[in-house]
Symmetry: C2
Subunit: 242 residues, 2 copies
DNA sequence: CCCGCTCTGTGCGTTAGCGTACCGACAAGG
DNA sequence: CCTTGTCGGTACGCTAACGCACAGAGCGGG
């Protein structure tokens, strides 16, 4: 949004050893990911892996009856398509764009070959995958024990960390689908946050006014995931020259 | 319980190429895992990885306020300690023995070296890890959407698959801790199952009388995890000569 | 400028699960 | 045999979240 887009805005790409980055660079393809776009469906064989820069992608499980629940969220810190190098080549969840933006993509097969040939690359990916596992585990805990209010805070923070700035573009309906709750539940929770002066909400546009407060109101899940992610991926400052 | 214990009762060990198995064999150490034993605590650096044969280990997250929730369960189909080769060397969850039994263990460092040297071994482990990820994801969904009744069915089936026979030794209190619900909730659900003639319950001893019915009463989560695990790990029949 | 759509707010009644409290039933061990 | 502790069953009020229905609010296109 501010800078010209470049692959190194994705933290994993930025963390690659120069040699690996150069090997991959010619095959990276810039893709615009519009809101709601499905990168892959449950059971699909993955064609590409995606490295978001300013897009956010949700991993969403959709039940037989149409209900849904977000499993994890991926932004500039990660990649979509870990099943490619984990070996399964597909997953039981859907990957859907939650916030429009840009990603760099790479043919799955090519990426897999690279990963298998270069252990440094593989280890970076596995570290990220463990961070993703932590996020999933914490999502399970959060779904069990925490209130919608707390979960909304956690979710806003996770999204905020993956975007530049303090504003988000998401309707309450969309958030409800992600959290797997009723839209009205989100309305209530967001209303409370608004009255506390923590956010300002208006027709799909959220502005975060008081992030520290948001962190206080969130359950421990956000902090656990953040801390573990930082531990596992202690790379580079967020910005880098392109 | 029936056969003399041997490492190949663990499916991953059994699936190893003979050459890899022989390399590892001298370092495998048989360990009895008593109920409630903590194999590692949140944040601990893993000393060993464990390959259960007839033991079951729960990956449990314990919250700041003492509440808990099971993230996944590991039995003879898998191993405890994926963080060892994922790179983190620790996780945010606790590994606790849910059903006493035997496991074979191996020094974490040695295992890590083996995995890094032999890509066939690594790929087997990554496949298992993806299956574990699927289980975690489904746990998150289940916690969000399904009733205690359904979750109890799912949980019994997961445990049953990891044991020989049709009986389990677990108190309702223990099950409640795993599911992250009240003990009374489990009492109610188990009472209903008992009245339907699906199980017989008595002081920590459960006998499953009608497994097909149990599968009907369970939510889709059980089937999803089982199908995906079978897809990812299509190895060997459960029994093998030792 | 107004129509129509999307998004948000609100108000029900209903229910699953929680917290608490307590009691009986069974098993093991002195 | 009786005590003691663990385990399972039950009851009661409470709350968060649900399903449903509908009303106002803002924005964009004709």
């Amino acid at each position: 949004m501010t800078d010209a887009p470049c692959p190194q805005q994705n933290h994993l790409l930025a963390a690659l050893p120069a040699e690996a980055r150069e090997r991959i660079a010619p095959y990276l393809e810039r893709a615009h990911l519009p809101l709601g776009k499905v990168l892959y469906e449950s059971g699909d064989t993955l064609r590409h892996v995606y490295f978001p820069t300013d897009a956010i992608v949700s991993l969403l499980y959709v039940m037989a009856n149409g209900g849904s629940a977000e499993i994890a969220v991926v932004g500039k810190e990660g990649l979509v398509g870990v099943a490619m190098f984990m070996g399964g080549e597909s997953t039981t969840s859907r990957a859907i764009v939650q916030s429009a933006g840009t990603a760099y993509r790479l043919l799955g097969k090519r990426f897999k070959d690279e990963v298998n040939r270069h252990s440094e690359l593989l280890h970076l990916m596995l570290h990220y995958t463990q961070a993703l596992i932590t996020q999933m585990a914490q999502t399970a805990v959060c779904n069990r024990h925490h209130s919608i209010d707390q979960q909304l805070c956690r979710w806003l923070l996770l999204s905020l960390d993956r975007l530049a700035g303090d504003h988000l573009n998401m309707t309450q309906e969309l958030i409800a689908n992600m959290l797997g709750v009723r839209r009205e539940g989100v309305t209530d929770a967001a209303g409370r946050l608004q009255q506390l002066g923590v956010i300002a909400y208006s027709r799909g546009h959220i502005k975060v006014l008081d992030r520290p407060r948001l962190e206080q109101l969130s359950c421990e899940c956000y902090a656990v995931v953040k801390k573990e992610t930082d531990r596992l991926l202690p790379y580079l400052p967020p910005r880098r020259p392109c």
